[in-house]
């Protein structure tokens, strides 16, 4: 069966191979000529690992700053709010608020924007659009919106941390105040302890021989000291959070530096890569057609080519091969009889009878 298919293929190779060759040759140039044109803007941004507060552990030390920032930007690009924020900064702004317009915005910005890390710190941003102004504005808008978003995020985180520590500090201070008041009351109620200053005692810098002999006072003094330490720790944390917050905001500028600012494209580009799908698809479809054609050719070929094709069990005595005779030397009228005359040449006179080879 394989032999039959091979025979049919090589016998009709032009017919079989023509569609996969011709169709891409026709479709290819057409697809390339009709490829949509667009304008591109590029920007190169030097990024650093986001300087989040110390309390954030969401970043892996094993990924590069550029890939971290790229991931973050990619995630945020999926949000409708961010996309609309970007659109408001471009000529697409009039479309905001209209459902169909917002669909269009999502399509333009979602399809037009691409980015890829190029090294540990360099992030390349790319935007393509129907007109150069839109590409330029959109890329700038994305960068601005991203920076603002990051800054707001840092401010929010810092505020959250500071208010948390402030609340904890306030609670600790109130507890300390209560305990201190209790000690005062206890000392006032006990004449032997009138010389004791609770504030200094809480600081632990005064020797209190009386407390050693009074277990209740000793317990109260220990609580007082513990709460005082908590207040100090909270104060330190609050100061640290306030410092980190300001450092983070200031470091933001350094963590997102535009090295190559976007330029307005001066010449259009054709979307050739996308258009290549058409000739390739054409070739694949035609290969399928060729395969079907080959099957049909094999199925339709009822001629005798070998002994197995012969009916009634007839045997083949032999095969007289097709001879490639040099027919060019012969007049056209003689070509049909050339083979017979070449065979009869040994005994006949009819000339010319061209030589040939198997």
């Amino acid at each position: 069966m394989i032999t039959k298919f091979l025979e049919a293929f090589f016998r009709h190779k032009i017919l079989v191979l023509l569609p996969p060759l011709i169709i891409p040759l026709i479709v290819g140039p057409y697809a390339l000529v009709t490829a949509p044109i667009y304008y591109e803007s590029f920007a190169g941004v030097w990024v650093d690992r986001p300087t989040y507060l110390n309390y954030s552990d969401s970043f892996s030390v094993y990924s590069s700053p550029s890939s971290q920032q790229a991931n973050k930007l990619q995630e945020i690009m999926r949000t409708r709010t961010f996309i609309l924020d970007v659109a408001k900064r471009t000529t697409l702004a009039p479309l905001v608020g209209n459902p169909r317009g917002e669909e269009r915005i999502a399509q333009v910005i979602g399809n037009g924007f691409t980015m890829f890390p190029n090294g540990d710190h360099l992030l390349v941003l790319h935007f393509k659009a129907d007109n150069p102004r839109l590409a330029f504005d959109s890329l700038n808008a994305i960068m601005d919106a991203f920076k603002e978003n990051a800054a707001n995020e840092r401010v929010n985180q810092a505020s959250l941390a500071i208010s948390f520590y402030q609340a904890r500090l306030q609670t600790a201070q109130e507890e300390l105040k209560k305990t201190s008041a209790s000690v005062r009351q206890y000392v006032a109620a006990n004449p032997n302890l009138k010389a004791l200053n609770p504030d200094r005692a809480a600081a632990g810098d005064v020797a209190l021989p009386q407390s050693v002999t009074d277990p209740q006072l000793a317990e109260m003094m220990a609580t007082l000291q513990t709460q005082q330490k908590q207040v100090e720790a909270m104060t330190s944390n609050l100061n640290s959070a306030q410092f980190d917050a300001s450092a983070s905001l200031e470091g933001q500028e350094l963590g997102f530096q535009i090295i190559d600012s976007p330029q307005i494209a001066t010449a259009p580009t054709r979307a050739l890569r996308k258009q290549l799908i058409f000739p390739i698809a054409g070739m694949v479809v035609d290969l399928g057609i060729s395969l079907v054609l080959l099957v049909l050719l094999v199925a339709a070929d009822r001629s005798v080519r070998s002994e197995s094709d012969l009916p009634n069990g007839a045997r083949v005595l032999g095969a007289v091969p097709y001879l490639k005779l040099n027919l060019r030397k012969l007049p056209k009228s003689a070509r049909r009889d050339a083979m017979r005359r070449a065979v009869g040449f040994v005994a006949g006179t009819a000339l010319p009878a061209p030589g040939g080879s198997k």
């Binding site: 394989i2 032999t3 091979l6 025979e7 090589f10 016998r11 190779k13 009822r302 001629s303 005798v304 080519r305 070998s306 094709d309 012969l310 009916p311 009634n312 007839a314 045997r315 083949v316 005595l317 032999g318 095969a319 007289v320 091969p321 097709y322 001879l323 005779l325 009889d337 083979m339 017979r340 005359r341 070449a342 065979v343 009869g344 040449f345 040994v346 005994a347 006949g348 006179t349 009819a350 009878a353 061209p354 030589g355 040939g356 080879s357 198997k358």
Partner: protein
């Protein structure tokens, strides 16, 4: 029919004495070679497998339809046997009235031929033509005949065939196509053996089957595939062991 019966039929001696009667004169010692290599071995293989050449016999070569190479194979068989057995007398008989080629191919007079001997009063010995091979003679169809179909079906034809069988060691009849000309079936009956020529890759198997059905099973020596060639490149055939 009366005309046919009146025409004289040569006996074995008459034919022998008159050969070569007309046509080519042998070149003497000059040897003519095949124009393409391996042709002699090719036809030698065919007649060996068909069992031709060992006894005196009449072999009919036919095909299912026209243009399959009957004349080429008949010619090749006759020439090869004549070359290989110089002591054996070989005759090639042309019976295709519609497309006579033998006279042209050999550059001999087309008439008188077979049909003239059957329908006319030409003596059979005048119809034989010589060739460059001493032991190979030709019998062109001759004509033109008013009703060639009747000629092959006549009793005279059977008589001539008997006479030829006695005069020659091998008589190769280039018969018409079986499915085109019903006279061919009659010729098959007159012959001792039959070979069917099939144009490889052209003749439908169904037609070959019908043609084989018309030949006596005991007489059919086999089928010759003519113009056989594989479209698969040689390197691929060698690679795949095809």
């Amino acid at each position: 029919m009366a005309v046919q019966q009146e025409a004289p039929v040569s006996d074995e001696r008459a034919i022998t004495e008159h050969q070569p009667v007309r046509g080519l004169q042998p070149f003497g010692d000059q040897q003519r070679d095949w124009l393409f290599s391996g042709a002699d071995e090719l036809f030698r293989n065919l007649y060996t497998r068909a069992g031709i050449g060992f006894t005196s016999e009449v072999l009919a070569v036919s095909s299912a339809i026209a243009g399959e190479g009957k004349t080429t194979v008949s010619l090749g068989l006759a020439v090869t046997v004549a070359q290989d057995y110089p002591e054996r007398r070989v005759l090639l008989v042309e019976t295709d009235f519609q497309r006579p080629t033998l006279a042209d191919d050999f550059g001999v007079e087309p008439t008188p031929g077979l049909v003239d001997c059957i329908l006319g009063d030409e003596p059979l010995e005048l119809a034989f033509r010589g060739s460059f091979l001493d032991n190979l003679h030709l019998l062109p169809v001759g004509g033109p005949a008013p009703g060639p179909g009747r000629a092959l079906r006549s009793t005279r034809m059977a008589t001539i065939m008997d006479s030829l069988r006695q005069s020659y060691d091998l008589v190769v009849i280039d018969a018409p196509s079986l499915l085109v000309n019903s006279d061919s079936v009659m010729l098959m009956d007159l012959a001792d053996g039959a070979v069917l020529v099939v144009r490889s890759g052209v003749t439908p198997a169904s037609m070959v089957g019908k043609a084989i059905e018309q030949i006596d099973e005991t007489k059919l020596r086999g089928v010759v595939l003519n113009g056989s060639r594989s479209a698969i490149p040689g390197w691929l055939r060698r690679l795949g062991g095809m």
